[in-house]
């Protein structure tokens, strides 16, 4: 279904926001992805994805506290919305469905 289309990176970001729950802001999300997935994430890519997800209604954001290390700038915390949850569910369902549809023989041949 069209309305739940998520890109691969978007899915990761959405999931990470969900993992971090109350503490999901730019730096933490980035670090979480980098440590879990062992890949470098650029601020630009992350922010673009976050804003896009927000625009799609899967995330909502609010300003949090400002800390000294941030030069007095406030954090923007992200939270997964209901729609975001549905999107994640949907994606997962699709994957599961796809997995279950694979006949066992496939991998034997693929292994060759």
């Amino acid at each position: 279904m069209k309305e739940y289309q998520l890109g691969e990176f978007e899915e990761i970001v959405l999931l990470t926001v969900a993992i971090l729950y109350e503490d999901a802001y730019g730096v933490s999300i980035k670090q979480e992805i980098e440590t879990r997935l062992k890949r470098n994430v650029s601020v630009s890519a992350l922010q673009t994805a976050l804003r896009r997800l927000e625009k799609k209604g899967y995330l909502k954001s609010s300003f949090g506290e400002a800390t000294a290390i941030r030069g007095g700038k406030r954090k923007r915390f992200f939270k997964v919305t209901k729609a975001g949850k549905s999107a994640l569910d949907y994606t997962k369902d699709v994957r599961v469905q796809l997995w279950s549809a694979i006949p066992n023989v496939t991998f034997e041949y693929a292994g060759l």
Binding site: G26, V27, K30, V43, Q47, A66, A68, I69, K73, R74
Partner: protein, 903 residues
């Protein structure tokens, strides 16, 4: 905890860059994130790395999704909505003030149409000959003749037969040379069709190298291979072979050239495209000049002096220095090929070549024997000025009406401002409205042009095309022009209104009129200036034309008919036959007639004691019979007329040893000639013997000076000789029963010449034809100037009305306090009269200077009298006063209560 003060800071430039491009509400948290991570990295690894990372991240953030939206993107929607509103308000206002809208549209569209017409005309005028390839290299060979005193007596557009060949042979810079010779207008016979007197032009072999005529059939290389080749233009091909000539394979088809009883077989070797109108010569047939050389023999087609009948063009290689080339040619050529003249002086004293760039010919050349009528650069300037004035007047007019019209909308401006309109949006609104009017004017303007162009073409003998739909560039430039005009015209009201003080605007005060001498007064003054200058110019032109029309040329030009008598063999009988009619009073043969040119001339000597001294002036002659003076009613100041038996015969006959046989001749000269010979009292020269050309003779009569040529030149010395070889017959006819007389003349002609129809002109027509150029110019200028004046007047009337309207309250109060209609009238007129005065002071010197220059082109010119000077002022004052009176009386007749109760 860290010491905050000593913490490293991220690169400030990158931060600033980020702040510049990123969306406002993203900036805080993203920059915060970046800084946080920067600090972590700065601790974890090196500061340098962290900085590098920071910069890199920001570089990567520089992408559309993160950027601020551009302003216009943001406001497009708002703009279009507002624009719709401007349009709606604009249309409503146009509709509400119908009369000023009408004045505006009429003024603008006529002004623009006139401007476009003038531009089209000028564009046509300046585009002559530009279509030739290598046009910069093509020059016409012209020959200057000098008098003994070293003054230029004539400059010929033609060269001698032998010039082209020798110039090309002797000078390597002259890469090609071609001469044209129109031979005798032969008849052309194609199959069973005969075309009489066609202008077949014989051209040298280089013709297609000099001029890039485009061939439709055949080609330039082989066209003149054969002696009897004939190249046609498309129009002549149609004339000869019909519209479907392309299907007839006419290349190689035979036709005959006939003249008298000579005939020659020619064949078609090529068809060229028709020569464009914008070319200073037009040929219908081209044939190789070798044919003429064969016909005339070596000698006649090779002479190097005199006989200027050969239109000659050369191509001078692009890197040659023309002035130097001309100098070296003049230094060498005449000495080499002529040496000395008959009187023993070196020929180089009397002749000079001038290589005339072909692009200069149409506008600036007016030499002896131009092949076709040329334009004049003077005319281009005058029209240019008039065109620009027209456009300016239309714009100023528009601005005037627009400002007065907009001032009614002060309150609207005020309300818009209160609601929050920016100054710029007000400017936009009024610019929109002003372009609205120009856009409406466009179709009207185009229609006007389409309507007027045929008249212009007809009148100026042009074929200028205007089709805005096929000439897209034209349409585009017209649109641009209109928008430009709208912009210029709308700019002042737009800026002015948007600047208006809010409070004043809302109170409805006409703050713009409080200053007595505001910008608009100057616009009105400008309007007056142009109007006065134009009326003045028209008056000067008109009075000069009157002067010419009424000037007495010194001979009778009424009821004189000229007949070209070339084909008639028995002249004496013909004349007697004609004189038998009671309606033909006098008849005279001559070689040339007044209004023609004095082109034939020979050297003259007079005797001082025994030795003949060359007279140092040009003394042209015409051949006449004894009735010439009588027919033209030219008086003799002294001496007597020719009598029967005085004819000079055998003038150019030579005796067996080759010397001219000197005939004893009788001459009549004019007063100017007598004076030039040095006789203050012309009668004293009577009986003096002079030599003229090869013959020697006595001066038997002095005739009163008359204008043989047009009034453009001074009366020149001239000489009459009684000698046959006539070309023209002049008939003085009685006024009654003109048609019968003409019928009789034609019948008589028919008895003598069966084939060629009679060809006659009336002298007064030829006389007026001399000034056709000026007549045309003056009527064109008159038309356009009148348009400009009308537009200006419309504007002035509108202005007066407006000013009265703004003063209605003042007038009302004055009336209540007991002012009379006259005093109110005076109060209003005062200001306009001052403006007229200023305009007069500005306009007069400028236009006087220009028109005086124009008059200087005439040798005989009218004087600019007081009447002409004051006429425009009187006219414009009268006009203003009429407008003012009308409006004032209207205003004063209104009950003061009506205008005071407002608000």
């Amino acid at each position: 905890m860290q010491d905050y003060k000593n913490r490293p800071s991220p690169p400030p430039w990158s931060t600033r860059f980020l702040a510049w491009f990123i969306k406002e509400d993203y900036y805080e948290d993203i920059q915060g994130d970046l800084e946080e991570e920067f600090q972590l990295k700065a601790e974890g690894s090196t500061l340098l790395r962290a900085r590098y990372w920071y910069r890199w991240q920001i570089m990567r953030l520089f992408r559309p999704a993160m950027m601020k939206r551009l302003k216009p993107q943001d406001s497009i929607e708002k703009e279009t909505t507002m624009f719709k509103n401007y349009l709606k308000i604009g249309f409503r206002n146009l509709w509400k003030y119908k009369s000023s809208t009408a004045i505006n549209i009429v003024g603008l569209s006529t002004g623009l149409a006139a401007f476009v017409l003038i531009s089209l005309f000028l564009k046509d005028e300046i585009s002559y000959d530009k279509h030739f390839e290598n046009v910069e290299e093509i020059h016409r060979v012209t020959v200057k003749n000098y008098t003994v005193d070293g003054d230029v007596s004539r400059q010929w557009a033609f060269a001698s037969a032998g010039h082209a060949k020798r110039l090309k042979e002797d000078y390597s810079d002259i890469t090609h040379a071609v001469r044209f010779y129109p031979w005798a207008f032969p008849d052309i016979v194609v199959e069973d069709k005969t075309l009489r007197g066609e202008a077949v032009i014989f051209a040298g072999d280089d013709v297609f190298d000099v001029f890039s005529f485009k061939f439709i059939e055949g080609n330039a290389e082989t066209a003149f291979d054969d002696l009897y080749s004939l190249v046609l233009t498309e129009a002549t091909a149609i004339k000869l072979y019909g519209n479907d000539w392309r299907n007839q394979n006419i290349l190689g088809s035979q036709l005959k050239l006939e003249r008298g009883n000579q005939e020659a077989p020619f064949k078609v070797t090529g068809v060229m495209e028709d020569m464009p109108d914008q070319q200073h010569f037009h040929f219908d047939y081209l044939a190789p000049i070798r044919f003429i050389e064969m016909l005339f023999g070596e000698d006649a087609s090779n002479n190097v002096g005199g006989n200027y009948n050969w239109l000659t063009y050369v191509r001078i290689s692009g890197n040659a220095n023309i002035p130097e080339l001309t100098k070296s040619v003049n230094d060498e050529f005449w000495d080499k090929y002529i040496g000395t003249t008959r009187s023993g002086a070196p020929a180089s004293n009397f002749y000079d070549f001038e290589f005339q760039p072909i692009l200069d010919i149409h506008l600036t050349s007016n030499l002896e024997g131009e092949y076709e009528n040329n334009g004049s650069i003077q005319q281009v300037y005058i029209f240019g000025i008039v065109g620009i004035l027209l456009l300016l007047v239309a714009c100023v007019n528009y601005m005037n009406i627009a400002t007065s019209h907009y001032s009614r909308r002060m309150k609207e401006v005020g309300v818009r401002k209160v609601i929050g309109a920016f100054k710029t949006s007000l400017v936009k609104q009024f610019l929109t409205e002003s372009t609205l009017i120009t856009v409406i004017s466009l179709p009207i303007c185009v229609l006007l042009i389409l309507w007027a162009l045929p008249y212009l073409n007809n009148f100026m003998e042009k074929s200028i095309a205007f089709n805005p739909f096929t000439q897209l560039g034209l349409l585009g430039s017209l649109l641009l022009l209109l928008l430009g005009v709208g912009l210029i015209a709308g700019l002042y009201p737009a800026l002015f209104l948007s600047k208006v003080n809010l409070v004043q605007a809302l109170k409805g005060e006409q703050s713009m009129n409080s200053g007595k001498w505001n910008f608009r007064s100057w616009l009105v003054a400008f309007q007056y200036t142009v109007t006065i200058a134009l009326i003045f110019s028209i008056a000067v032109i008109e009075s000069q034309m009157q002067f010419i029309r009424n000037s007495n040329p010194g001979y009778n030009r009424e009821q004189v008919l000229n007949v070209n008598i070339r084909p008639i063999a028995n002249l004496e009988t013909f004349k007697n036959e004609l004189l038998s009619s009671p309606n033909i009073e006098k008849a005279s043969y001559s070689s040339r007639i007044p209004t023609g040119r004095l082109a034939d001339s020979m050297g003259s000597n007079y005797f001082m004691g025994d030795s003949a001294v060359a007279s140092g002036f040009r003394l042209p002659y015409i051949r006449v019979d004894k009735d010439f003076l009588d027919t033209y009613e030219i008086e003799l100041v002294a001496g007597e007329n020719f009598r029967e038996g005085m004819q000079v015969e055998n003038m150019f006959d030579r005796d067996s040893s080759g010397n001219f046989i000197t005939a004893s001749a009788n001459y009549i000269i004019n007063e100017t000639a007598a004076k030039s010979f040095g006789y203050e009292n012309p009668a004293d020269i009577l009986g003096t013997v002079i030599t003229y050309g090869p013959s020697e003779g006595r001066i038997i009569g002095i005739m009163k000076d008359f204008h043989f040529e047009s009034l453009h030149s001074t009366i020149a010395p001239m000489l009459l000789m009684y000698r046959e070889n006539y070309r023209r017959l002049s008939l003085k006819i009685s006024g009654n029963n003109l048609q019968n007389t003409l019928d009789f003349i034609e019948r008589t002609w028919g008895d003598f010449e069966k084939e060629i129809p009679i060809n006659y002109t009336f002298l007064d027509e030829s006389f007026n034809d001399q000034y056709r150029q000026e007549e045309r110019l003056s009527s064109m200028i008159k038309v356009f100037a009148v348009i400009a004046i009308i537009i200006g007047c419309l504007g002035l009337i509108g202005m007066v009305g407006f000013i009265i309207e703004t003063k209605l309250k003042e007038i009302g109060i004055r009336k209540v306090l007991g002012a009379s209609t006259q005093s109110i009238w005076l109060m209003v007129s005062n200001r306009f009269l001052i403006l007229v005065g200023i305009a007069f002071i500005v306009a007069l010197p400028i236009s006087y200077y220009l028109m005086d220059g124009w008059l200087d082109e005439f040798v005989y010119r009218t004087r600019i009298g007081a009447f002409i000077i004051f006429l425009p002022v009187v006219l414009s004052v009268a006009l203003t006063l009429i407008a003012i009176s009308y409006q004032t009386i209207k205003a004063t007749l209104v009950n003061p209560v009506e205008c005071l109760k407002d608000e």
